[in-house]
């Protein structure tokens, strides 16, 4: 190995990232070349100075800042989910709250949603679907969303 090649390998040698054969070649060259030995020493010394800096101190309150950010992010996500739920319910309402019998089946014969007034839902009936004031149950083979003010949307 010549000086130029060895010079390029000194850093990796310092990190133990050379193969055993490469490392041996570098060592053999450095042992006989004062110039490369000096470069090696300088690199090691410089790296030692960098590592001696140690880690910088973290400001007091860092963890509290992280906790606040996580909390506010959770609240933001919850707000978005609630807004999305409201939009979904609103869209469903617009689509489904129509007079019964005014809609006709489409070309494919798919029945349009029907709306039926029902009794206020028994709190024990259906499952909570995650939307405020709404529960889901199955009746007469259809999925029924029971939503305030107690109107059943069937699909």
């Amino acid at each position: 190995m010549d000086c130029h090649t060895v010079s390029k390998l000194l850093s990796a040698d310092l990190d133990g990232e050379l193969s055993a054969a490469e490392s041996a070649q570098v060592a053999a060259h450095v042992a006989t070349c004062a110039d490369c030995a000096r470069k090696k020493q300088v690199l090691e010394q410089t790296w030692g100075e960098v590592l001696r800096l140690g880690l910088e101190r973290v400001a007091t309150g860092f963890d509290d800042g992280v906790a606040r950010r996580i909390h506010s992010q959770r609240r933001a996500h919850a707000g978005l989910a609630a807004a999305a739920a409201v939009i979904v319910v609103g869209v469903l309402g617009v689509l489904l709250l129509r007079e019964p019998g005014t809609e006709s089946p489409d070309a494919a014969g798919t029945p349009t949603p029907r709306v039926a007034a029902v009794e206020p839902p028994d709190p024990g009936v259906g499952l909570d679907c995650g939307l405020p004031g709404a529960r889901v149950c199955v009746a007469d083979g259809a999925v029924v969303v029971l939503a305030q003010p107690h109107v059943a949307f069937t699909e």
Binding site: S7, R38, V50, L53, E56, R57, D63, G65
Partner: protein, 204 residues
């Protein structure tokens, strides 16, 4: 509890309190706040330094960005699949957050460039003794300033090698660059530092 194979503490036979990093991040994914607290405790200083070095020591927003890294770690904990070590994953997240910050807020325009705002130099790591302190502090400040003058990715590889002791292959994973690039960046960074600190221009 099992330490990852590349964790320097594993070689020392130590078993860190709370478990290995990988166990903790999985605990975090299960919603265990204690696991996240352990990770925060373990990495807050190192991630903060990585961010500060990457953004440049004078960034006014380094602490905010470092906090955001941990928010993202908390949020994305479930996405850790264990295909790489936790530290590789962690610094990948950190790098993304730093890059996103630079893109969005143009850090370069939010830095103090009057030569007096040496944030790194203002945060000494150790309380110095009375006599050697002045000389040592001056030397440390010199080293920090020399590091600051390096390009961000050079500072990043220095940190990942120096403080995380990641292998070249792991650093390449974090930075999404070839191993040869890591090798040359480390070499160039060290040579640049040596030139500034030791005034040895012949080291190439």
């Amino acid at each position: 509890m099992v330490l990852s194979a590349d964790d320097p503490r594993a070689a020392a036979g130590e078993r860190p309190l709370g478990g290995s990093d990988e166990e903790l991040i999985r605990g975090c994914a299960r919603g265990e706040d204690g696991a996240f607290a352990h990770l925060l405790d373990r990495y807050r200083a190192r991630v903060s330094q990585f961010v500060r070095w990457y953004l440049g020591g004078r960034s006014l927003w380094a602490e905010d960005v470092a906090q955001e890294v941990f928010v993202q770690v908390h949020r994305r904990a479930a996405s850790f699949e264990g295909r790489s070590s936790f530290r590789t994953w962690l610094y990948g997240v950190a790098l993304n957050v730093c890059r996103g910050h630079i893109r969005r807020d143009r850090v370069g325009r939010r830095t103090i460039d009057d030569g007096d705002g040496d944030v790194l130099a203002e945060i000494p790591d150790r309380a110095p003794g009375p006599l050697q302190s002045l000389e040592q502090a001056e030397r440390d400040a010199l080293v920090r300033r020399a590091i600051e003058r390096l390009p961000p990715l050079h500072r990043a590889v220095l940190h990942l090698r120096g403080w995380e002791e990641l292998s070249y292959e792991q650093i390449a994973d974090v930075l999404s660059v070839p191993v040869g690039t890591v090798r040359s960046r480390l070499h160039n960074a060290r040579v640049a530092l040596a030139k500034e600190l030791a005034d040895v221009p012949e080291v190439k």
